[in-house]
């Protein structure tokens, strides 16, 4: 049984605050775990480093992944988490400001489920988050956890 955590991978504190604000405004009550770079993200997902005490079966319901991250960038995180059977099926939504073809193609090639461009306008951003949350957390059927397969 998945816990309803949302993993937010975002290095920019402003963007983090705004995203959380948008989520709250849309009454999305899931627990949101925020990690600041690629290394932390992978540590969280595979219960290593600072998160060794975490339950390995507790995989997030949704990962919101930014591409421009320090240390290990979003693309590499995506690649690694898709390589591991535990995290292979987790819905990953790329939430980034880049609209470059290169990034879109790479993300989809590596197995991202969705690619959203962060708009400058905050109202639009809030609207995007609402739609996002509604779709992935309510409408979408999540994949079964490894234990259940």
């Amino acid at each position: 049984m998945n816990n309803q955590t949302i993993l937010l991978v975002e290095d920019n504190p402003d963007d983090e605050a705004l995203t959380l604000r948008a989520l709250k405004k849309n009454h999305i009550a899931n627990e949101v775990v925020v990690v600041r770079d690629g290394v932390e993200a992978l540590d969280y997902l595979f219960c290593a480093g600072a998160y060794s005490a975490r339950d390995p079966h507790a995989i997030p319901q949704l990962i919101l992944l930014d591409l421009k991250l320090p240390k290990i960038d979003g693309i590499e995180v995506l690649r690694r988490l898709r390589a591991d059977p535990r995290t292979q099926m987790v819905p990953v939504v790329i939430l980034t400001s880049s609209r470059e073809d290169r990034d879109v193609v790479q993300s989809y090639t590596l197995g991202a489920n969705s690619y959203i461009c962060k708009p400058v306008d905050f109202n639009q951003f809030t609207e995007s988050v609402r739609t996002l949350g509604l779709y992935w957390l309510v409408l979408n059927v999540p994949p079964p956890s490894l234990a259940e397969r």
Partner: protein, 617 residues
């Protein structure tokens, strides 16, 4: 004739026949020589018998002659003149086989003598003067013997018809042809005349003196007639030959002049590849003299590095009898090295053998220099392309970081302004709220600007396609979309049909989107908007396209600013926009090699023109 005579004739005939039929084998000539030798021997022995009075027992060796034979001196022995003839004939036959210089002439002479000696008896029999057939008490040469001798002598004389005296009779030239025609007359007419005289005299028609005088006169007449006929014949032939020669001379003059007129160097060599005739054009350039250029001397003027290669390919070509083509440097008389290209072809005789080589030599220095120049420029071009490639890459990286890094702070500004508005609503008064609105609007505008700039930058990096684009179809599509987006606006679109151009489809779509979009935008306040798209009739080869609207228009005084990036002639309140649209249009049109310009009048409308160049990068 006597037995020995007959036998000797047979041997002589065999000897001649075998000589004429001789192939590559050795037995035919050998037998021929043996037979000829025997003939000579018989003749010699018989002569010796007569001269020395010996009896060598050869006369009756084959058959015995019955006693009482007519006209015989000694039983079975041939006439002395017959014997001598055999001696000479045999020698002539033997000499036929010899290849030494005068053997052929001597052989033919001997054959002639044989013929002459036999001629006399024939006359004797013809004129019924038997004693002419021999001398003294000795056996006379029989008539058929004499005849056979004549035939054989002709045979031996003509056996080597390509050499010595016989060639004069048997040849192809006019003299021989003439001789063949005249000779029978010369040999037959005098005897006939003589016979007439003799018979006439015997019949008593005229006396000795008269007969002699008549014969002499007729002889003279015949000779003169013969001479006239020969002269006339030869003259005609010579005239033909002269005409042919003149035509040939003309042709040769023509081609010689052609060669001289052309600035090419023309050279010839013999079949072995040695220069035997001076090459004036080459010598003119290199300063070599006639004797210096002979043989392989011409190669002395070549650059030392090229000399061996050229001489090698020349000897290769001569050996292989193939086409010759080579490039080399040669020293001009002033010491400067020029590049030349030499070409040669063999000239074949009618049997397919090489008679000589002919060729040309051209100064290709300019061409080589041009080639070098092209190569250098090409190299530079390649360098530039590489440089531009890396510049492009840098620009890409730049716009990539721009799209990420510039937007993020904007988001923060906008987001937190909104947050401020929401969270601190009670604490803010109308002024405060209005400030924050302006902040937000500014950030949104900036975001738009960034997007537009990035698009503009991307355009210049994009690879341009080249295909036939249906402009009318594009315009129609865009018009439909505009109308759909604003169905409440009554608008009239007048779009020309069938306009196609060569260009990049995507980019041209952007052009029309911008121009038609602008027209749509600036007619927003018009009660009845009219947007036209079409092509002007021009005298020139290029088509001028236009997009016309009856909207807000603009002041022609500011026409030069229209296409500048971010330049606007209206405030954002009046008509929204970042001012990048026309800059984009101009950028695209420029890349197509075309031009853009506009005309307008405030309140009446505006027309935007553009052309698409025939060639573009």
């Amino acid at each position: 004739m006597k037995v020995n005579t007959a036998a000797a004739f047979i041997l002589a005939g065999v000897a001649l026949a075998l000589f004429l039929k001789a192939g590559s084998g050795v037995w035919k000539p050998t037998i021929s020589k043996v037979c000829a030798g025997l003939v000579t021997f018989v003749g010699l022995l018989t002569l010796l018998e007569y001269l020395l009075g010996w009896d060598l027992f050869i006369d009756q060796i084959l058959f015995k002659e019955p006693a009482g034979a007519v006209d015989t001196f000694s039983l079975g022995r041939m006439a002395p003149n017959t014997a001598m003839n055999f001696l000479l004939l045999g020698s002539a036959l033997l000499l036929l086989h010899s290849e030494t210089r005068h053997a052929c002439s001597i052989s033919q002479l001997l054959a002639l003598i044989v013929g002459l000696v036999a001629w006399l008896p024939i006359f004797g029999y013809l004129y019924q003067m038997k004693p002419m057939a021999g001398f003294g008490p000795y056996t006379l040469m029989a008539f058929h013997t004499a005849l056979t001798f004549v035939f054989l002598s002709i045979g031996v004389f003509m056996a080597r018809a390509d050499r010595a005296f016989a060639s004069v009779i048997a040849g192809q030239h006019w003299g021989s042809v003439m001789a063949r025609q005249v000779l029978p007359a010369a040999l037959i007419l005098p005897p006939v005349l003589g016979w007439f005289r003799l018979e006439g005299q015997r019949a008593g028609w005229f006396g000795v003196e008269m007969g002699l005088a008549l014969m002499t006169v007729i002889h003279c007449v015949l000779l003169v007639a013969l001479i006239f006929w020969s002269a006339w014949s030869l003259n005609r032939g010579d005239a033909d030959r002269q005409r042919a020669r003149d035509v040939l001379l003309e042709s040769e003059e023509r081609y010689r002049s052609l060669v001289e007129a052309s600035s090419q160097i023309v050279w010839t060599t013999n079949a072995q590849g040695q220069v035997v005739r001076p090459v004036p054009a080459w010598q003119d350039i290199t300063g070599q003299k006639d004797d210096e250029v002979m043989g392989s001397g011409w190669s002395e003027a070549l650059h030392p590095e090229d000399k061996k290669r050229v001489l090698d390919s020349w000897s290769e070509a001569v050996k292989a009898k193939s086409h010759y083509e080579v490039e080399f440097r040669a020293r001009r008389r002033d010491g400067v090295y020029r590049s030349f290209q030499a070409r040669g072809v063999p000239v074949l005789t009618s049997d397919g053998e090489i008679r000589e080589w002919v060729g040309t030599c051209s100064d290709i220095t300019e061409r080589k220099e041009a080639e070098n120049e092209i190569r250098t420029l090409h190299g530079k071009l390649q360098q530039r392309i590489v440089e531009l490639g890396s510049i492009n890459k840098e620009l890409e990286a730049f716009s990539y970081s721009v799209s990420h890094d510039l937007r993020a702070p904007l988001r923060s500004i906008d987001g937190f302004s909104q947050a401020l508005l929401e969270d601190c609503e009670e604490k803010l008064d109308a002024t405060g709220k209005s400030h924050l609105h302006r902040v937000r609007s500014a950030t949104r505008h900036m975001g738009q600007l960034i997007d537009d700039l990035l698009n503009l930058a991307r355009l210049s990096r994009v690879e341009m396609g080249r295909e036939r684009v249906d402009l009318s179809a594009l315009a129609a599509g865009i018009a439909a979309e505009l109308q759909k987006a604003g169905p409440e606006r009554p608008a009239e679109f007048i779009l020309a049909e069938g306009l196609t151009e060569l260009g990049d489809a995507r980019l041209l779509k952007i052009v029309l989107e911008n121009l038609l979009g602008n027209a749509w935008k600036f007619t927003a306040k018009c009660p009845r908007a009219r947007v036209e798209f079409g092509a002007l009739e021009t005298a020139g080869s290029e088509t001028v396209y236009y997009v016309r609207d009856n909207g807000a228009g603009f002041n022609m005084a500011y026409a030069s600013k229209l296409f500048g990036a971010f330049q606007r002639l209206h405030s954002s309140d009046e008509f929204p926009g970042t001012g990048i649209g026309l800059a984009t249009v101009q950028q695209i049109i420029r890349r197509h090699g075309g031009r853009t310009w506009a005309e307008g009048e405030v309140g009446k409308g505006a027309t935007f023109y553009f052309t698409l160049g025939a060639t573009y990068e």
